[in-house]
Subunit: 699 residues, 2 copies
């Protein structure tokens, strides 16, 4: 289920506290509060707190080592943001700048639905953070870090009072470490990023056709033969779990069954429904191999493995996958067909339901609560399970009506290349879910963004998660009526910069990749490549695989322009906003027209600047047609813009011709798996030029 | 001793093999060989070796685990450079793309003067690397990595035959981890950088007034009380030593005595000549505290400590510092004065010599060879010691004449902010050393660049070392007649990019720092700040401390524009080169004039673009006067350029006035510890404009 952006509607929903706050700020020319997720309630106070070398923290009330570490990390982070060297710490100075009060402990293993609320008061004389338990403290510390800004007096925090709590209790990021292995340091910095935007569930997709990524002591052939040596040791997993717990984040492991499991069968073909032998899968897609649901061996094995993994992962929830079985191995196996006949199992859905039920029983037997994709919801399963919906909010609402808890992932697939605005518009309680009773709505626990890893590796994965994931985090944390797109994008830009201080490479990754693509080249040539890369995006949804001339595999180098471009082009987005503003002025805004003209002129000229490089580098050459298409498209828009400003109408024929050309340019870019995100803005300019030579306000 | 750049002289020194090679390449339009250090002998062959997923390595001849690890690291590095995913490795494939032949082992503890030579042959069908021992293999692998380039066929290595060996056996980088603590990961990536440019000694400056940075089991108060908790554990040191050994790099520890040792006295005031108590020093400079050379306690302590450290650090050489004792504590201590009288020690130099001799004896007793700064060379010390000269090549030559071995550091102080060209011109065998006999010249072991850390931390230290250190590495490795500056700078630019693949942050550090300085700002404002930062440099030599309005300490935040600018401005250097070319054309090169005009126009307009930001950020505001000065200086040069192209002579009065203004602008920039490196080029333009309205070729 996808839904378009809902622009600006919330403005009419009433005077919201955050809007009031931000308006008040604008009135007094105070700095904007670049908070994301936007807190539940923000009141701007007077005074500003200066951050200097004497800044210090004390903890009052309930104490634990995790809080001390959080205080240390806070200071490290504050140092990164300001470079201020803090005076050597005294333990709990009586008159600390920041006084943190915690009422009581949180659960020894973090649980779903624990209190994460906090209040934060900042004045000229200091800051006070109060929370019921350490989780709220962690959330509040991140808010405080976001408030730090440089001013004409140095680094300061504006006076402010914030009361904050999450809208949904399950706010997750799933990372697929199985299709491409994601190293530990990359996992850690993304957990840091999750903490920064107040997400609280790291869902770790650990097994796939392409790899089994966890060390198993019971069945070492799983990781030894199923991972090319790229797996996490159990100590490393424990380290990640402790790391996440320190940041108020639960770790939910996923072992996908009965499909998506080829890598298991490399060492354990006895689990499979086919004859084997099996190799680690190198291609992408849905494949035939599936576990044998009719064999006792399978359940004996899974009982032991789930037992081992249930001990390794302390979280209450245990994800068993359950998605996308094509059933071909089942159809082809006479033993399985016979079993189905004997046991009255009518079809593969029934067989999968049977398997799912037995695996869920094993999970429950080992003290855990099963989570799975939509497919595991079968008549009669206990109400305790949690459905993760890749199908959509309708599916989630249907589950809630039956009394099942669910989390939304449809609409939050980060690998599809959607804009932040599009993800932001997806709400777990929208559509059919909006009509649920309040009690049913409580069964909708929240959502999870998903980073499937066909086309990411440690070099570019951060850029595929961030900054867009911060917009999803806001959707899941902030009040439902926080929806203004202009505000979201303004804050997202600042938060994106801020996230770099956590070690995320979502901005810094690009230059080295473009340098690699360009080889040793002049600054001018590299600038042309950068301008191109920053104006384009990868093709959306699942079309990348469709458009590939050579089928991509896990061995395909990710060194192409498509691997280096951002998933959302900021220059193109800004250009599109300016086009809308220009057209809304009935094309009378001369300054805006000049800005548009300047951008279009540069874009139109860019291809010529890039050509020498395309001669020398195969990787630039591949993007050559997209570059030409982009410059030609900009040239068309430039011509149309000139007609508008000169009052020379575009004929209907020319309009049709140009729109067709735009379409052709877009298709030309697809050859390198690239798309021209500014094309809709170009189209608007052309259409406006045709509208009787003047232009009508759009929409 | 400093010497200016010797530009282009080597061109007349004969037809050098590298020049021949690069000319041959140019003739056939093949890619340039961006090698640094330039190998002893390069012959360009035919064909190119394509790098693809089937690339693999096999080792022939002598084998050891270090070689296997080197092969693995080579593949990791090759993956970073190309993003190619190499097919899962078979051990030693018979028809490998790269065949590495090693004759025999190297010494178990790497020694001074071991053979580091190698030969590398690349053809269309494969590459062969041959070396006597693993050290040569390590050097050759780096050369091969530097040869990889993107082409219209993808990633390739040009056909080439290289015979290579170092000119000097001691090619070091000293990092001062004491004034500012440098974390282990930063040390490691700099060791990677050293390997990349074939340096072989990591000199680790571990103790200072500001910190004692090594864990001592014998005297734990040294690190516990003398480091603010910022010290290396012995296991971490061993890890670094193993890491360096894997990369063919020796680790020489330095414990600076009897001065530069305040931090020792915080826990062990009994070693000091003053009454104490002592605190960790927070300021920079030369301070009074010094060890008591007259107390047996001192030598007993040092005997045990040196014994402990001699075991920890396996290298044959052990650095005892010995520099800069001001003698004030000795003068003020009656017991010491009495001792000197009794023992006939005539002055503080004599007292230091006495101390130095006794400490050298201790070092020798523990099986090590002492190294120290110039001061340790006192009449009668054994010929085995090594002098590290901060005083200069003259001092080194004098030592060699007496039969002492030496290494040059004067001229290689990276913290002084010199240009790469200026460091590059410094030769350990220049000046007085050039007149040494061949045998005496052999006593000049090489050199060491020094990264003193008053004004660096983990965020910007890489940028203070690299890329300039690569030019020093070339001076110490390549034949003496490799001196062409244009070639050096062209290759340095490429090598600087390449070094990023080793994780060095000397290029990527800047944007986050500027972002911090700018706060949340528009792209336009950030671009103005970036343009300013990239055109300026920090003041040179030791003037930064002189110009500071507030005395800097170890607690001073390094968040200012001066901390973020590069030590050598590439835009300013390129501009200066263009000015020289323009003037050399007798100002007739119209295209060049247009380029100069375009750059000057941008620079002249930059200050206005920056002003809004200077209002909002204290850190930008501080650089405001420098920004104004820079834009005004560019404006002057622009006016002068226009006079030249229009044939309107500048009067002598105006010239004097403008040169005086330039001088004033420079001084204005100094207030923020910044300098305008393009000012000499500006001056040349003004002088040319005054030369009868036309212009004379410069020099």
């Amino acid at each position: 289920m996808t839904r378009g952006p809902v622009q600006g509607k919330a403005i009419f929903a009433g005077i919201l506290s955050f809007l009031f706050a931000s308006m008040a700020l604008r009135g007094q020319c105070a700095p904007n509060l670049n908070l994301m997720p936007m807190p539940g309630k923000v009141q701007v106070g007077s005074g500003t707190l200066k951050i200097d070398t004497n800044f210090n923290v004390s903890f009052v009330g309930y104490r634990e080592a995790r809080l001390d570490r959080a205080g240390q990390r806070f200071l490290v982070q504050l140092h990164r943001q300001t470079a201020i060297v803090f005076a050597p710490a005294q333990p709990d100075p009586p008159k600390a700048t920041l006084i943190v009060t915690t009422d009581h402990e949180s659960k020894p293993v973090q649980e779903l639905g624990e209190d994460e609320s906090y209040t934060l008061e900042v004045s000229g004389s200091g800051a006070k953070l109060h929370a019921a338990n350490p989780l709220g403290v962690l959330r509040g510390l991140q808010t405080l870090l976001q408030l730090v800004a440089i001013s004409s007096d140095g680094f300061v925090v504006p006076g402010v009072t914030i009361q904050d709590q999450p809208r949904f209790p399950w706010r997750g990021l799933m990372i697929d470490s199985a299709r491409h292995f994601i190293p530990l340091d990359v996992i850690k910095r993304n957990i840091d990023g999750m903490e920064a935007v107040k997400m609280n569930v790291f869902h770790w997709h650990l097994s796939e056709n392409q790899g089994f990524r966890v060390e198993s002591h019971k069945f070492p052939k799983l990781h030894e033969m199923g991972s090319d040596g790229l797996y996490y040791k159990q100590d490393e997993i424990r380290d990640i779990i402790a790391y996440a717990r320190d940041r108020g984040i639960r770790v939910v492991p996923e072992f996908d069954m009965p499909g998506h499991s080829t890598a298991w069968f490399v060492g354990h073909s006895e689990l499979a429904s086919g004859p084997g032998p099996y190799q680690i899968e190198r291609k992408w897609g849905v494949f035939d191999p599936a576990m044998d649901p009719t064999s006792d061996k399978t359940y004996k094995f899974l009982n032991e493995l789930i037992g081992e993994m249930a001990k390794l992962f302390p979280d209450q929830f245990f994800h068993i996958g359950g998605d996308e079985v094509n059933g071909k191995e089942w159809d082809a196996n006479p033993k399985i067909q016979e079993y189905m006949k004997v046991h009255g199992i009518q079809n593969n859905e029934g067989l999968q339901a049977y398997f799912s039920q037995r695996v869920q029983d094993l999970v429950v037997k080992h003290g855990k609560t099963p989570v799975g994709w939509d497919e595991i919801l079968i008549p009669g399963v206990p109400k305790s399970i949690v459905i993760q919906s890749w199908r959509g909010a309708e599916s989630l609402a249907a589950a809630a009506k039956q009394g099942y808890r669910g989390i939304l992932s449809n609409g939050y697939y980060l690998d599809l290349g959607w804009t932040a605005a599009r993800h932001y518009a997806v709400d777990p309680l929208s559509g059919a879910a909006a009509n649920l009773t309040l009690d049913e709505q409580k069964l909708v626990l929240g959502g999870e963004s998903c980073m499937w890893s066909e086309f990411v590796n440690s070099e570019n994965v951060d850029s595929r998660i961030w900054p867009r994931n911060a917009a999803i985090a806001e959707r899941l944390w902030s009040p439902a009526d926080v929806r203004d797109l202009a505000s979201m994008y303004a804050r997202l830009a600042v938060v994106s910069e801020w996230l770099e201080w956590f070690g995320l490479t979502h901005r810094s990754y690009q230059r080295p990749m473009l340098q690699r693509i360009a080889g040793s080249s002049s600054a001018e040539e590299l600038a042309a490549l950068t301008a191109l890369a920053q104006a384009l995006e990868p093709v959306k949804d699942y079309t990348r695989e469709e458009n590939a001339t050579v089928e991509p595999t896990s061995q395909t180098p990710m060194n192409r322009v498509v691997d280096a471009v951002h998933l959302e082009s900021e220059p193109s987005r800004r250009f599109s906003v300016k086009v809308d503003e220009f057209l809304a002025s009935s094309c009378r805004d001369v300054a805006k027209a000049a800005e548009l003209r300047s951008q279009l002129t540069k874009w139109a000229a860019n291809d010529a600047r890039l050509q020498p490089l395309a001669q020398r580098s195969l990787l630039v050459k591949e993007a050559g047609p997209a570059s030409a298409a982009f410059s030609q498209a900009a040239e068309l828009a430039l011509g149309a813009l000139d007609r508008i400003t000169q009052g020379l109408p575009l004929t209907d024929d020319l309009k049709k011709q140009q729109l067709a050309a735009l379409e052709a340019y877009e298709l030309q870019a697809h050859k390198a798996q690239l798309t021209l995100p500014a094309r809709l803005a170009f189209q608007k300019v052309i259409e406006a030029a045709a509208a009787n030579g003047s232009c009508a306000a759009p929409r």
